[in-house]
Structures are given as structure tokens and as C-alpha cells.
């Protein structure tokens, strides 16, 4: 059946285009149109949704540069993304190495580990908010009962702790996804390589350094790229946990854009910030793919 389709496409390229047309139309409608519309809106002075506005050129972009809140959210986005990537990849890698070992209950663990990723974000965020509450939450209760702390810690209610707490919750949510990807890469490494290395007297760390790491590097490179792009774009978990607060301590770009557009009713400024974020991530992704994948090859 597939061969028949392949032959048909070779004979009649138009048929191939027709086959991929639906997905292209879908991408055009759901991706390109909103993107082009956002770029258009960023050059206007639209405040409320539905208004037409007037053309103002680069005024919104100039305002962004002078907006300390914008600069602050940019820095916070970098911190949020960097630390998320570090924790998520590290924990995912560690988890995948464990799950690659032979032990009783391995199958159950491989399924159970996906739980944080399967549960809807709203449920996760609500559970964590309550668990982390300084007065009513179990985390503070356990810490106090074990005399680890003497007074409750407002994990999400303090500018000192909110960001790192949100990062840890987000890591807990996402690491299973990356663990599964890395585990798949670990599983296709030929065991003969490890056996040969053992015979040659290689230690565990030497095997890891010279066999495991190089073998899974292409997957790790992809995981880091996906992780960083997705982490930079996280809105749901942060909004549900902290709404960008306390103050602006967890206000990353997506939160800033949402608040600007739908709370301050400055839609064009929000669009300008969104375009800026898009360009930043595009440049980052391009540089990453060019340099990191070249090195991998």
C-alpha cells in the first residue's frame, strides 16, 4: 500500500502536495496567521481586543526597551529556563539510568514515573499549592515535625523562595517526558560494547564517559533544545502556582505578555513583547542547532 502511494507520488508530484496540503493549511491557520497577526498588532496602538488601532511604527518596541518590568521579565525568563533545563535534564538522565537497570518492579516504575506528566496541570498546581502552604501544607508540617525548620516557609508566598519552588514543581512535572526519551536512547546501545569494555577493565565511569554519553549525545542535544524552548514558554504552571508573583518574582515573559495584554489591556505592547520573544527563541534555536549539532556530528 505504501509502495503504491510512493510510486503514485513519484509519477504525479501534485498528488504528494495534495496529501500534505491539509497539514499545511492547519499550520498556516494555527501558526502563521496568529504570528503574522501578532507582528501586525505590534506596530499598532491597540489596547482592547477587537479595536482596530492606528499605526505607530516601532513605538511599542521602544517602550519595551524602556520598560523595567520587561527587562526584569527577560532576565527572569533566562534564569527560569536555564535552571529548569539543568534540573530537568539532570533528573531525567538520572531517572533513565536507574530505569535502564535490571530490578524488580522495573516495568511498574517505568509506568508510574509518567504520572506527573499525565495528570492535568491544573490538578498538579492545585495539589502543590496546598502541599506547600505554610500553614496548612504537608511539606511545612513534615519539615517542622522533623525539626528541619523552626518556622514555616512560605514557598510560594515569598520572593526568596517562589522562583526556585516553581522550578522544582515544573521539573517534577516534565522530567518523566525527557526520562522516557533518554531511556529509549539508552536501550539501543549495544550491550556488547559494555561487555567488551568490561573485559578491557573499564570502570563504570569510564564506560559512562566513553560509551553511554557519546551514544546518547544526539538525543541529549535534542532533549536540551526541546526542554529549553518549552521551559521558556511555560505559562500554565507558573500562572496557576504564583500568577507571576509575589510581586514580579516569578513573572517570566509569557506571564508578562499575558498581564500586559489581558490585565492592563495594552494588546499591542503585549504583541510586541511576544514578537520579541519569538525572535529571541528563533535565534537561540538556530544558533543551538548549528553549533551544538555540528559538534555532535
Amino acid at each position: 500500500m505504501i509502495d503504491k502511494v510512493k510510486t503514485k507520488i513519484q509519477q504525479d508530484p501534485l498528488f504528494g502536495y495534495l496529501l500534505i496540503a491539509p497539514i499545511f493549511i492547519w499550520i498556516a491557520v494555527t501558526l502563521f496567521y496568529p504570528l503574522l497577526r501578532a507582528i501586525y498588532d505590534s506596530f499598532m496602538n491597540i489596547e482592547f481586543m477587537g479595536e482596530e488601532g492606528n499605526f505607530v511604527g516601532f513605538h511599542n518596541y521602544v517602550r519595551l526597551i524602556h520598560d523595567s518590568e520587561f527587562r526584569g521579565s527577560f532576565i527572569r525568563t533566562l534564569i527560569w529556563t536555564g535552571v529548569n533545563v539543568f534540573f530537568q535534564v539532570f533528573v531525567a538522565f538520572f531517572a533513565s539510568v536507574i530505569l535502564d537497570l535490571e530490578f524488580k518492579g522495573k516495568r511498574f516504575m517505568r509506568i508510574w514515573i509518567l504520572l506527573p506528566w499525565i495528570i492535568p496541570v491544573i490538578v498538579l498546581a492545585t495539589i502543590w499549592r496546598w502541599m506547600l502552604d505554610p500553614s496548612l501544607g504537608i511539606v511545612n508540617y513534615v519539615l517542622r515535625v522533623t525539626a528541619t525548620i523552626s518556622s514555616p516557609i512560605p514557598f510560594l508566598g515569598s520572593t526568596d523562595y517562589a522562583m526556585i519552588t516553581a522550578i522544582l514543581v515544573n521539573t517534577w512535572r516534565w522530567f518523566p517526558f525527557y526520562a522516557v526519551m533518554i531511556l529509549a536512547a539508552l536501550q539501543i546501545i549495544p550491550t556488547e560494547l559494555y561487555e567488551a569494555a568490561k573485559i578491557d577493565g573499564a570502570s563504570f565511569f569510564q564506560q559512562f564517559q566513553h560509551i553511554t554519553l557519546p551514544s546518547i549525545m544526539p538525543v541529549l542535544v535534542t532533549v536540551i533544545l526541546i526542554c529549553s524552548l518549552w521551559a521558556a514558554n511555560v505559562f500554565d504552571m507558573l500562572w496557576l502556582l504564583t500568577m507571576g508573583g509575589p510581586g514580579t518574582s516569578t513573572q517570566t515573559f509569557p506571564i508578562y505578555i499575558y498581564q500586559k495584554g489581558f490585565q492592563e489591556y495594552k494588546l499591542s505592547q503585549a504583541a510586541a513583547a511576544a514578537v520579541f520573544m519569538f525572535l529571541f527563541l528563533l535565534i537561540y534555536g538556530t544558533i543551538y542547532l548549528r553549533n551544538v549539532t555540528m559538534e555532535t556530528e
Partner: protein
């Protein structure tokens, strides 16, 4: 015989044609779509019961309710308006109405309001936020406001009269000190400080009691938020915050309620929906719950934030407008409104004197239980105000300010950045001026 058979056949064919006749030949059914933001299942169920009862009386009008969250209400409504799929009727609060009105989809409801005013005594506080530019833009359906809640057993344990809640700011602080000092409670009062509607609401109730309810001056572009009374209110607020449990920077509505239920705090300035949580969580004698007016300074005034929740008309279709008018008139019948309001007993308050006396309102089991508290709520609501809607003519600029939760943010500036009340209020006023520029 043949003729009879022919007649029967023709009659049957005629009946068949009539049954298959297009809708326009029969009495026309008008469909109304209604969107609202009251998500709890109890409220949705109660609304459906009321609508079902309405449709029984008016079989030619079909009412369909759709529920959305407050978080998505603005974006979803505006998107629907743009797509020409707007609902016919939309529930909302005053600043929401101001914002949606910018789309030009909101229709004046003067004739409906005048009709209802002719029949019922509608509380002016519920109508006033919806009257500007010479028209009414929403018909009020229910109100909400704050009370000061406390546990009588906590008062007793602290040697205080359980029937005498504090009436002034001084008395409140004194009561907190006494109860904490006696070891009866660990904290004074739950203070929501998150950048949210809950934070704004708590703050505004205090501002109203200190006669600092105006954000705008007489001119629409004039911000008068930075005045001595506002500063004093924030100073008092900070004193309350210093007695609050930790984590208030992430608190919204539920946390102060649970803190009171769990005897962590002595007081809570909370909306009436608390009664539902008290029922579910406290599982204690109803007599233990006490409520008083929101305390005010010695030279202040009785007051609370007051939300008049209304229904907007977004349809221009004549038949739908008539059908909507019929529905709203139906909802205003005292016994219907009484039943409708108990979609959330204690939270939704009557907007007419007649509904405030309706048997269907007071006979609800929960309202019966907490009648003494709900009567106090209704009494307090007469002194209710809403920021941005305190002048005779509503200032449309409130829409730009309300969404930023600046009242709560000013408090955050004091707590997070350590600003003085004067500097924090000044910052807030500048942000408001920036917003309306």
C-alpha cells in the same frame, strides 16, 4: 365508501404535511444563549432549575447556559464578539461591563430597567455602577459584599463577649492582641496580598470605611488615590498584615477562610460565600460563627466593597431582546429571585426590597441556619461601594486600572519592597495615571 377512503387519505396527508411543516408555520421558538462565570456545580444546577421553570412557563423561549471561568471571561467574550458568535446574555460585574462595552456589542437596557423600577424597589447601589453615558448597560441580579467573621468560641476562650464583634479599627487590633496574647489563636486575621481580585477586594473594604473610596476625582482623567486617608488605610492594613499567617503574598479567597475554619486566625474579612465552606469544613455548630460589619476608624463610615452582578444584553435581534426582557422580568419576580439567589446561599444577595422579603429566599435550609448573618450582610450592603464606580457618572477608565489589581500591588510594595505607606500609595497613584494616559 370510496369517497370516505379518499377523505381519510387526504386528511392523513394533510396531518403529515402539517407535522413536517417548517418551523415558521408553527409558533416560533426563540433561543437565548446565556454566558456566566458561576462555575460551582451547585450554582449551575440551580440556574438550570430556574431556566427550566421559565421555559415551562414560556415554551417558545429556549434558554441555554454556558459556563466559563473569570480568567477566560474577557478573552473568550471578546473573541466571540469578533467571530459574531457572542452570547445573547452575559453575566458580569461593573468593570467587566465597562471593558466589554468597548466592543460596542453591549446594548442599553433602559427599557428593561425602567420596567423593573416601576414594579420593584431596586437598591440604588446595585443600579448605579451600570449607569453612564445616559444609559443603563446591565440589569443587576445579585450583590456580594464583605463581613467580618469570627468564631464565638474563640472570643469566649479569650474572655471576650462573643456577641460583640469589634466595630472600629482600634477595637479590631485590640481584640487581635488579646486573643493572640491569650494563646487562643496564633494569628490575627487572614490577609490576601496576592496580585488578584481577592487582594483588591480586601483592601477596598478598608478604604471605604476610611472614606477613601474614590480613585477618580470629579474629572475623568483625575486620579486622587494618593490622599492622606488612603495612606492611613494602608498603614492600618500593614498592621493587620503583621498579624497574619505567613504566605499571604500567594493568598486569594479560600486561604483566609480556611485559616478561620482551622482556628489559625481570629478574624476574616470575607465574602458571604464563606458560609458554604463553613458548612463543609467546620462541621461545627452554626452558633459558633459570628459576623459583624467591617470595622471602621473612629472618624470613618460604615462600608464594604459591594459587587453588583448584572446581566448584559449583547443581541440586537428584536425577538431575542423581547425574549431576554421576558426572562429578566421572570427572574425579578421576588419568589423566583429568592430561589435564584440561593444558588449560593449567603453569597448572592437580593437587589430588590421585595426579593429581600421573599419566602423562597429565607426558606432555604442554609439561609435559615445563617439568617442572622445574612441579615447583617443585607444591612451592610446598603453601605457598599465599588472602586471606580463611586461618582454619579461612571468613569470608563476603571477598566484599565481594575485588571492590574493595583490596590493589592500597593500592599505588595510595602511588604516586598519595604516601601512606606506614603511611597507605596504614591507609586500606586502613578501606575493608575499611567494606565489611563
Amino acid at each position: 365508501m370510496k369517497r370516505l377512503k379518499l377523505l381519510v387519505t387526504l386528511a392523513s396527508l394533510g396531518a403529515l404535511c402539517l407535522a413536517m411543516a417548517p418551523v415558521s408555520l408553527r409558533a416560533e421558538t426563540v433561543s437565548l444563549t446565556l454566558w456566566h462565570q458561576e462555575q460551582p456545580p451547585r450554582r449551575v444546577k440551580r440556574y438550570q432549575e430556574v431556566f427550566d421553570s421559565f421555559m415551562k412557563e414560556y415554551p417558545n423561549i429556549k434558554v441555554t447556559q454556558h459556563v466559563q471561568t473569570w480568567g477566560e471571561a474577557y478573552t473568550k467574550t471578546m473573541a466571540a464578539i469578533r467571530a459574531r458568535k457572542a452570547p445573547d446574555l452575559l453575566f458580569g460585574i461593573p468593570e467587566f461591563t465597562v471593558n466589554i462595552k468597548r466592543s460596542r456589542a453591549v446594548q442599553p437596557v433602559d427599557e428593561i430597567v425602567e420596567l423593573l423600577k416601576g414594579k420593584y424597589n431596586i437598591y440604588n447601589a446595585t443600579l448605579q455602577p451600570y449607569h453612564y453615558e445616559g444609559h443603563f448597560w446591565s440589569v443587576p441580579l445579585y450583590g456580594m459584599n464583605h463581613l467580618l467573621y469570627y468564631r464565638k468560641s474563640v472570643f469566649e476562650a479569650g474572655g471576650m463577649d462573643p456577641e460583640a464583634p469589634p466595630k472600629t479599627w482600634t477595637e479590631l487590633l485590640s481584640a487581635i492582641d488579646r486573643l493572640r496574647g491569650a494563646g487562643v489563636v496564633q494569628y490575627g486575621i487572614g490577609v490576601p496580598v496576592s496580585k488578584s481580585l481577592a487582594g483588591d477586594q480586601f483592601m477596598y473594604s478598608l478604604l471605604v470605611t476610611n472614606k477613601a473610596e474614590h480613585l477618580f476625582g470629579e474629572r475623568k482623567d483625575e486620579i486622587i488615590f494618593d490622599n492622606p486617608r488612603t495612606v492611613d488605610t494602608y498603614k492600618f492594613w500593614k498592621k493587620l498584615y503583621d498579624t497574619a499567617p505567613p504566605g499571604g503574598l500567594s493568598w486569594q479567597w479560600v486561604e483566609p477562610q480556611l485559616a478561620l475554619v482551622n482556628r489559625q486566625t481570629a478574624f476574616g474579612i470575607i465574602l458571604g460565600g464563606f458560609l458554604g465552606h463553613w458548612e463543609e469544613q467546620a462541621k461545627e455548630k452554626v452558633e459558633d460563627l459570628g459576623a459583624g460589619f467591617v470595622p471602621r476608624p473612629e472618624d470613618g463610615q460604615p462600608g464594604t466593597i459591594y459587587y453588583s452582578n448584572g446581566v448584559m444584553l449583547l443581541t440586537k435581534d428584536k425577538k431575542k431582546r423581547e425574549a431576554a426582557k421576558t426572562l429578566i422580568e421572570y427572574l425579578y419576580r421576588p419568589e423566583v429571585m429568592g430561589y435564584f439567589l440561593n444558588a449560593q446561599p449567603g453569597l448572592f444577595l437580593p437587589v430588590t426590597e421585595e426579593a429581600a422579603k421573599a419566602n423562597s429566599f429565607w426558606e432555604d435550609p442554609m439561609v435559615k441556619k445563617y439568617a442572622h448573618i445574612i441579615k447583617r450582610e443585607i444591612e451592610q450592603s446598603k453601605y457598599g461601594k465599588l472602586y471606580g464606580f463611586t461618582r454619579d457618572e461612571v468613569n470608563p477608565n476603571i477598566g484599565r486600572i481594575a485588571g492590574q489589581y493595583l490596590l493589592a500591588q500597593v500592599g505588595q510594595k510595602m511588604v516586598i519592597d519595604g516601601l512606606s505607606a506614603e511611597d507605596a500609595v504614591k507609586w500606586g497613584a502613578e501606575k493608575m495615571r499611567e494606565a489611563i494616559k
